[in-house]
Symmetry: C2
Subunit: 195 residues, 2 copies
């Protein structure tokens, strides 16, 4: 198994976390965005977006994090990280979609503007991200984990850009249940630092 | 089964399409956004986002479209619309994530600004949406459907806001393979108009 990444990438971190928690060996293919290695013809053939992560396993290629996490969890994680029954699978995928919505396009895009990685209206992104944090806070005040009362890939998918929200100018102190959940994720067996 | 919606909603349209294609009976709960019915205490209890669609079936509640489509496909669609093997499931979820990324935060948000449903930088959204259309065009020039060489929920999830892109000021004529795919979706048994 091969993971194309650069170490600071929050989206690649989702896969590094899951691979570590599942105790799966893999090879890292390190890319340097500053050298244009994400936009090379060879890499664009793997991923038309020109982004990391890309996961390769046998003949399969996954060029974004949601599909890659689903693949790893379903293939190697038994019923634990992603169940196969309709309702359980859908509850996890609902919170995976949340990670692609308020968390990515709110919290992470605000951070990306601050870090000068993209343009756009930072206050618009912050507002969208804070609306997401309010939903998370309400949910996590009553539930230890996002879906099914246990750790699933939904927690791993949401964790990186929630925990990095302060880098986008969004303090997490107003969201104590979110902070407590961040600590619980960081205490999971196999948790690793991003950098 | 109960679907909370208003008829013009593109996200609710994804579920109406899938329910129609699966030939499943359901009750519509029609809400009027102009009357504040999405922000009532009762509705916010079902969906903290205050948005449609919400799908209820037995005791299960799904408050966004991805999870609800996964639920319907896995419970009622056999292996056709969403397979259960790791690689197949992940390929479909990859394109479901695409519908939540370039398509929603590019094409649909550009449309939402034009229709005065939200603020933000319309040119930023259009640029992001066009980058998504370029990826779709490249893929659909070689593949009839988004995942697994057959119709899956990935096609149904991407179709509404791709086909509505012109309402956001994004012409589809530069993307002939995308237009041909839109026509193929519209020719599927059970396809219905949005309004």
């Amino acid at each position: 198994m091969k993971l194309h990444l650069f170490e600071r990438s929050g989206n690649a971190y989702k896969l590094r976390l899951l691979l570590s928690m599942l105790n799966l060996p893999y090879d890292k293919v390190l890319l340097d965005p500053a050298k244009g290695e994400l936009k090379s013809a060879a890499f664009l053939k793997l991923n038309p977006r020109g982004q990391v992560p890309v996961l390769e396993d046998g003949g399969e290629v996954f060029w974004e994090s949601t599909g890659a996490m689903v693949y790893l969890a379903r293939k190697f994680g038994g019923e634990t990280w992603l169940p196969s029954d309709a309702a359980g699978l859908a509850q996890v995928m609902q919170w995976m979609a949340f990670a692609q919505n308020e968390v990515l396009f709110g919290l992470q895009w605000a951070r990306a503007v601050v870090l000068k990685l993209r343009g756009g209206d930072v206050e618009e992104y912050r507002g969208y991200g804070r609306a997401g944090l309010a939903i998370l806070e309400q949910h996590l005040a009553k539930n230890a984990w996002l879906a099914l009362n246990r750790t699933t890939i939904a927690d791993i998918a949401n964790y990186p850009y929630v925990s990095l929200a302060p880098e986008g100018g969004i303090a997490l102190e107003p969201y104590p249940a979110v902070l407590a959940w961040v600590s619980r994720v960081q205490a999971l067996p196999g948790w690793i630092k991003r950098v």
